[in-house]
């Protein structure tokens, strides 16, 4: 079972004070939380790298969490930021097919996680932007393949990816 908000907050407060044991537990729980968070929107083969990126970001920016505020929205904001970065970086990979293991676990997804999920970002995009990003940046199709599958021209696919990523970047904190 993944730690809840009060547990995360308590561990983070102790970690900011230099408690290495609490920090180890915090990062381990954060790793579980992040693996679950990214599962639906990141190919399995890329989740580990992305989670490591976020853990490094948590470490570098741990002073930016304020104990008077909730921990998970802070963690989700950093996770989204790194995810948008990741989308910009990824290119076609043979290992990029999404797994289907998330469907079985969806019932257990708690309300907090759902409210801050990556899907909430995607609903802010137009259907054309959403489909272009999903096909090229998440499923790993080439622009040509995505154009055929989405029924858009190649240049439109590129424009939709560019505009969609720009919009995602601006919405990291706003969309909940």
């Amino acid at each position: 079972m993944i730690a809840d908000e009060p547990t995360f907050a308590r561990l983070m407060t102790a970690s900011q004070g230099g408690d290495r044991r609490a920090y180890t537990v915090l990062l381990t729980e954060a790793q579980f939380w992040l693996e679950r968070y990214f599962r639906r929107r990141v190919p399995p083969a890329q989740i580990d790298d992305l989670v490591q990126d976020v853990l490094l970001s948590i470490h570098a920016k741990r002073a930016t969490w304020d104990e008077t505020r909730a921990f998970l929205p802070w963690l989700a904001a950093i996770a989204r930021y790194r995810w948008v970065d990741h989308l910009r970086r990824v290119y076609r990979s043979s290992e990029s097919e999404l797994g289907d293991q998330d469907a079985a676990d969806d019932n257990g997804e708690d309300a907090v996680l759902a409210r801050m999920s990556l899907d909430r970002l995607f609903v802010q995009l137009t259907p054309a932007q959403c489909s272009a990003i999903e096909l090229v940046k998440i499923k790993g199709l080439s622009v040509t393949e995505a154009a055929i599958q989405a029924g858009q021209s190649e240049s439109l696919i590129k424009v939709n990816i560019h505009r969609g990523l720009r919009k995602l970047s601006a919405l990291v904190e706003e969309a909940d």
Binding site: M1, I2, S15, Q16, G17, G18, D19, R20, R21, Y23, T24, L27, T28, Q31, F32, E35, Q52, L55, L56, S57, H59, A60, K61, R62, A63, T64, W65, D66, E67, R69, A70, P73, W74, A76, A77, I78, R80, Y81, R115, M116, R166, S169, A170, L171, V172, E173, E174, A175, D176
Partner: protein, 213 residues
């Protein structure tokens, strides 16, 4: 969920040092110091206009400078808050204030058009001086906000850059405005609002690369 030891976690925990959490009030204090220093510099360099104290200033002087200052303060607060990210925050307040600020140039242009005097903003030399001085006066606030953002973790660098520009332009223009004796809507609505627009564009273009992490 199965536990898999992660060497990175052990390494990060080994490097852990205590940190002082970033407090919003400290960020606001940094901005406040920058504003006070900017006003002091304007007072020393150009001298503050005595008109408002003597009751010689038109009402629009207070309305325009008050609105410009409010936009600057709201934007600066938005930027300071953006250094500590969290999902579920919107910048609606600052957006509405920006829309309210647009009333000034629109009124200035409408007023000039109705009087048939669009081309007569002939005090353009004075206006241009105010535009340049107002924009330049925002440097201190911009530096303070960039410093704060670099300490923090802004997750929307483009938006943070835009509001940094708005805050710097507005607070710089406000500080310079305290020394400017032109208290007409034509002058204030155009030349004292222009630094906000120019700085916002500059902030949007230049700041993101400085604060990305």
């Amino acid at each position: 969920m199965a536990y898999r030891p992660n060497p990175l976690i052990a390494q990060l925990a080994g490097e852990l040092e205590p940190v002082r959490p970033l407090r919003m009030r400290h960020g606001l204090a940094v901005v406040a110091v920058a504003i006070v220093l900017t006003i002091a510099a304007v007072a020393l360099w150009q001298g503050l206009w005595s008109g408002p104290a003597k009751g010689h200033a038109a009402a629009i002087f207070f309305v325009a400078n008050g609105l410009i200052a409010l936009v600057g303060l709201a934007s600066a607060r938005t930027v300071v808050r953006m250094a500590a990210p969290r999902v579920g925050v919107r910048q609606d307040g600052a957006r509405w204030l920006l829309a309210a600020l647009a009333i000034l140039p629109v009124t200035a242009l409408l007023s000039a058009a109705l009087k048939g005097a669009v081309g007569s903003y002939g005090h353009a030399a004075d206006g241009l001086t105010c535009f340049i001085a107002g924009t330049a006066s925002g440097v201190g606030v911009a530096a303070a906000l960039i410093f704060w953002l670099r300490r923090g973790a802004p997750v929307a660098p483009n938006v943070a850059g835009f509001y940094t520009g708005v805050a710097a332009g507005a607070l710089g223009s406000f500080a310079h405005g305290l020394s400017c004796p032109f208290d007409t809507i034509g002058h204030l609505g155009i030349w004292h609002v222009a630094p906000v627009a120019a700085s916002a564009a500059l902030g949007r273009l230049a700041v993101p690369v400085l604060i990305r992490w």
